[in-house]
Symmetry: none
Subunit: 216 residues, 2 copies
Amino acid sequence: MNLKVAIVDDNTFLIHAIKEKLSFFEDVSIKHTSLNGSELLTQLEHNHNLDVILMDIEMPVLDGIETTQMVKQKYPHIKIVMLTAFDNDENIFNAIKAGADGYLLKEINPEDLYNGLQETMNGGAAMNPSIALKTLKLLRNPDSIKNQSDKEEISLSKREVEVLEQLSKGLSYTIIAENLFLSPSTVRKHIENIYKKLQVHSKIEAVQKAKNHNII
Amino acid sequence: MNLKVAIVDDNTFLIHAIKEKLSFFEDVSIKHTSLNGSELLTQLEHNHNLDVILMDIEMPVLDGIETTQMVKQKYPHIKIVMLTAFDNDENIFNAIKAGADGYLLKEINPEDLYNGLQETMNGGAAMNPSIALKTLKLLRNPDSIKNQSDKEEISLSKREVEVLEQLSKGLSYTIIAENLFLSPSTVRKHIENIYKKLQVHSKIEAVQKAKNHNII
DNA sequence: TCCTAGATAGGGCATTTGTCGTATCGGTTG
DNA sequence: CAACCGATACGACAAATGCCCTATCTAGGA
């Protein structure tokens, strides 16, 4: 099995170091490297035949957290392992929330990096022990996690929230209309407006976004 | 450095197996073993000069979760690593809540077990990758913790989980097909099968149910 | 008072989805 | 070996969805 890997890091020297570490392993091939998130996204549009992306966090233009979120949204099949110098709680938690499949530190040795990639492909999560401990602490104490996701204010009307609530249960337009004593046309219109406000294009996306913003 | 270890397991045969695994390493010494929690607590009253306790979960009299809680309360300096056969979400989460410093599976090989102990002593958390992934999912979706009321076993194939993951992002059949290098027909068929297994009839319901069961 | 936002309602249309079929191939297991 | 499951793939069709248009009525803010 050949592991198709991409590396994203704004430091060319570090990209080189990672390449070197992985060069020991024949079944790993570096498909491409990028200096920031938007460069990666462009490359993915051409070719998303990838297994794992090794992603730095601190990067100009589009940082590793946002990039992870966007890549996971469009290409959920690609595993993303954060590979960064810093391991503060905020970064770790945001990376996990963004959908990261693992979190390693740059000081890692070649074998552990390789094992991490393998474990990730086998449906596990690559994590070094100190990171693992931090995730345990986060789980023990969920209050320490503050949601910063609502940076843009989203204001739905009362009626729209009601409709969204019904949407989230998986009900169809006609059923929602019955429940709220409305015409199906009205429900459709409400949903159109909701989509515009949330900037989404489907039920699932709307519900997901609404949940992230604590609207429902 | 000599690692002082205790083993708690109601199965004497398994205690022996763990001892055997650790016998390869000279700097590990098994200080004592117990068949259940209360036996351990009695022993700790006589001697709590211990580094790590390897703790089973399923035990009579006083199970591993409760015991962990009590030991951590009285002797917070002693590290506790769960060593159990089962890795269901409930056990993992409860063990973490109780204060466990790690969570390993009994099938582990000697080296990994030894490394786990070392990492734990170095201020990390011992965890195998599949457990690590489960903790990540729990962090992403804390609601799935409370919602373990209906514990009917749902077994989706690896491929089905992949498809479900893509579904959860709001992607259409055709996009999913592109991402996974499949024909749209195949994606449809997978989704049909997923719906049957989950007993649902729409994307949203499927995603909701999968999240509640910590599948995605 | 005028204007805007929200709630209501309808029509139309291309696309997607959910649900039926059927079928082949490879591996596992009894 | 047979039976079964999972992964693959195609066709058909009704229903649902997403998105565009227009329109009326009401309440509240500029």
